[in-house]
Amino acid sequence: MAASTIKIENLHVEIEGSEIIKDFNLEINTGEVHAIMGPNGTGKSTLASAIMGHPKYEITQGSVHLDGENVLEMDVDERAKAGMFLAMQYPSEISGVTNADFMRSAINARREEGDEISLMKFIRKMDEKMDTLEMDQSFSQRYLNEGFSGGEKKRNEILQLMMLEPRFAILDEIDSGLDIDALKVVSKGVNDMRNPEFGCLIITHYQRLLNYIKPDKVHVMMQGRIVKSGGAELAERLEAEGYDWIKDELGIENEQVGDQQQEA
């Protein structure tokens, strides 16, 4: 498969009338891992959800293209079928639907009718990925995310990533709530996915994750857009010094988004 590109241009996103994302631009190629860091409330999850088609977010300007195809015109499931994936900061719980049934339906939804994955093959794959993530087998028969601990939910998001093998994945705070061992395991899962046909955008607050998953590029998000980009060393400096130096450098007083602050 040839290299792919996801291209976000001049994106503006509103929620309930207030503009959260303002002129956001980013291009990611398969084979690359990008990281976005930024203080709380600067629009990182909003960006991720809007790209995936969350019903609450309204895109007022700009575009998202996947190899020239207009993503914003696609339904949420079409975006997934086109190769996009979002590991959510707060995954939903679906009672009565087992993890295994759900994942098999999701895999089959991407396949043609008559070409469904065989039950044997599915079970083998799920067993293997759960082993990598050191998840207990019982999770395959648990209801989807119901009663999962914070860390278990994150693992389950990465399990889905590994089962579905998308071309582009956005991982929204996949490290939050994970203990150190779990962080290593989850990172290993993501690293297993790394190849020239997979691109990834990692949203995180902690540089530690980026020690395990080496990013090609690091971006800092404030006020709903990227205010600084660099390599892995940028994350290290943020970890050591926080965000104040960037705010000073750029003359930003309030890094958050919303109506309370007006840019001069």
Binding site: P55, D75, A80, K81, G96, V97, S105, A106, L144, Q160
Partner: protein, 436 residues
């Protein structure tokens, strides 16, 4: 005899019917007393549903004795699909329009002294035992017109008796198949589980062609003795045209327990009463029911647990899916009587609305006459959560498939409890057909 109810089955008819069946005197007398009551009593008045215009009194009472069938293979194809044939410990009775046509009882069950037979035979062969339970502590003949009519005209049913300390492992399965589209069903079930015994009973009410106007009037009584455990599964899927009154009652003694799992999938108008009396200390009831309303169907569900015993525990879960112009009222009632200290009652009623025109009311009611108890309820009426849809669709599931999963998940609490795989599978198919 009032003309407007067209109540054509009078005392003479009832007497003759009872004698024809060779019933013991006590039963004939109970029927006659009930027939007299039926004339005087009024219909029940279920909360928020007007059933005055529903047909409870026009029907063909008995479709006539049916030939028995000696091989499952010769049963109606759709009936066969409900039967678990993988097991060699089969305990099964199939009724056709109220008459038993097939019966298979494992050797083991007989050796254990368990009675599992149609109620007509039970009345003849074990009349004294049946009498101890029939219209006993769980239900009264004079509650209203429908309970009285029920006793007067009872034309089918099952008697299960499990002696003390006996554990019945394989489930007892009964299929009440209505074939004649005009025939009424006045079905009576007694499950009596003596002290420290254990039994699982699973019933299906089915018909496969649209009824002309007819009536199902069903009463089930379940008695769990001290330390006894009864699991009672029921799947109702009677076709449109059949007006159903179904009353499933339980009475639980000290440390006993009843678990109900009811899939209420009738296509016609239905009034359902599922009441459990927690009489003994430490008694337990778990009442789960799910339903789907569609078309212009009207239904009223009443799930009721009454606590008398100390440390008694009652759990109610009701999930309903509403589509088209259907209307359903879900009443959950937890009643804790004075003296039932340290009791706990929880209930959840959830209604999923799939259409703007449907109506679904969830009414959780806590009636508590004792201070030293814990109780809680949760109720909601709403549409499918858009965040759940976003989550599922973001994995590539089309909207329709995502909805399907959520709905099956919503109804899973009952589907998963049913003890026979073939019945589970058929219920899933019914859900599929009703929702899409």
């Amino acid at each position: 005899m009032s003309v407007d109810t067209k109540w054509t089955y009078d005392e003479d008819y009832v007497k003759e019917y009872s004698q024809q069946r060779g019933e013991p005197n006590w039963l004939t007398e109970e029927r006659l007393a009930a027939a007299r009551l039926a004339d005087k009593l009024e219909l029940p008045k279920p909360e928020k549903t007007n059933i005055k215009t529903w047909n409870f009194t026009e029907f063909k009472h008995d479709a006539g004795v049916k030939e028995t069938i000696d091989d499952v293979e010769n049963l109606h194809e759709d009936v066969q699909k409900l039967i678990d044939r993988s097991t060699d410990e089969q305990n099964l009775i199939v009724f056709r329009d109220g008459h038993p046509v097939y019966r298979s009882v494992s050797k083991r069950l007989e050796e254990q002294g368990v009675l599992f037979m149609d109620i007509e035979t039970a009345a003849k062969e074990h009349g004294d035992l049946l009498r101890q339970y029939f219209m006993g502590k769980a239900v009264n003949v004079d509650e209203h017109k429908l309970t009285a009519l029920h006793v007067a005209l009872m034309n089918g049913g099952t008697f299960v008796y499990v002696p003390k300390n006996v554990q019945v492992e394989a489930p007892l399965q009964v299929i009440y198949w209505q074939e004649d589209p005009e025939a009424a069903l006045f079905n009576h079930v007694v499950v009596a589980s003596e002290d420290n015994s254990e039994v699982t009973y699973l019933e299906n009410y089915v018909s496969f062609q649209e009824e002309q106007k007819s009536v199902a009037n069903i009463v089930a009584e379940v008695y769990a003795g001290s330390g006894a455990k009864v699991s009672y599964g029921g799947v109702d899927h009677l076709e449109k045209g059949m007006t159903t009154y179904v009353n499933r009652r339980g009475y639980v003694e000290k440390d006993g327990r009843i678990d109900w799992a009811l899939g209420q999938m009738n296509e016609g108008n239905t009034v359902s009463d599922n009441t459990t009396i927690l009489a003994g200390d430490g008694s337990y009831a778990d009442s789960k029911s799910v339903s789907i309303g569609r078309g212009d169907q009207s239904q009223n569900f009443w799930t009721h647990i009454i606590h008398h015993g100390k440390h008694s525990d009652g759990q109610i879960l009701t999930h309903g899916v509403m589509k088209d112009k259907a209307s359903s009222i879900f009443n959950g009632v937890t009643k804790i009587e004075h003296g039932a200290t340290k009791s706990n009652g929880e209930q959840t009623e959830r209604v999923l609305m799939l259409s703007e025109k449907a109506r679904g009311d969830a009414n959780p009611i806590l009636l508590i006459d004792e201070d030293d108890v814990t109780a809680g309820h949760a109720a909601s009426v709403g549409r499918i959560d858009p965040l759940q849809m976003f989550y599922l669709m973001s994995r590539g599931l089309p909207r329709s498939e995502a909805e399907r999963l959520v709905i099956h998940g919503f109804l899973a609490p009952v589907v998963n409890e049913l003890p026979i795989q073939s019945v589970k599978d058929r219920l899933r198919e019914v859900i599929e057909r009703k929702v899409y």
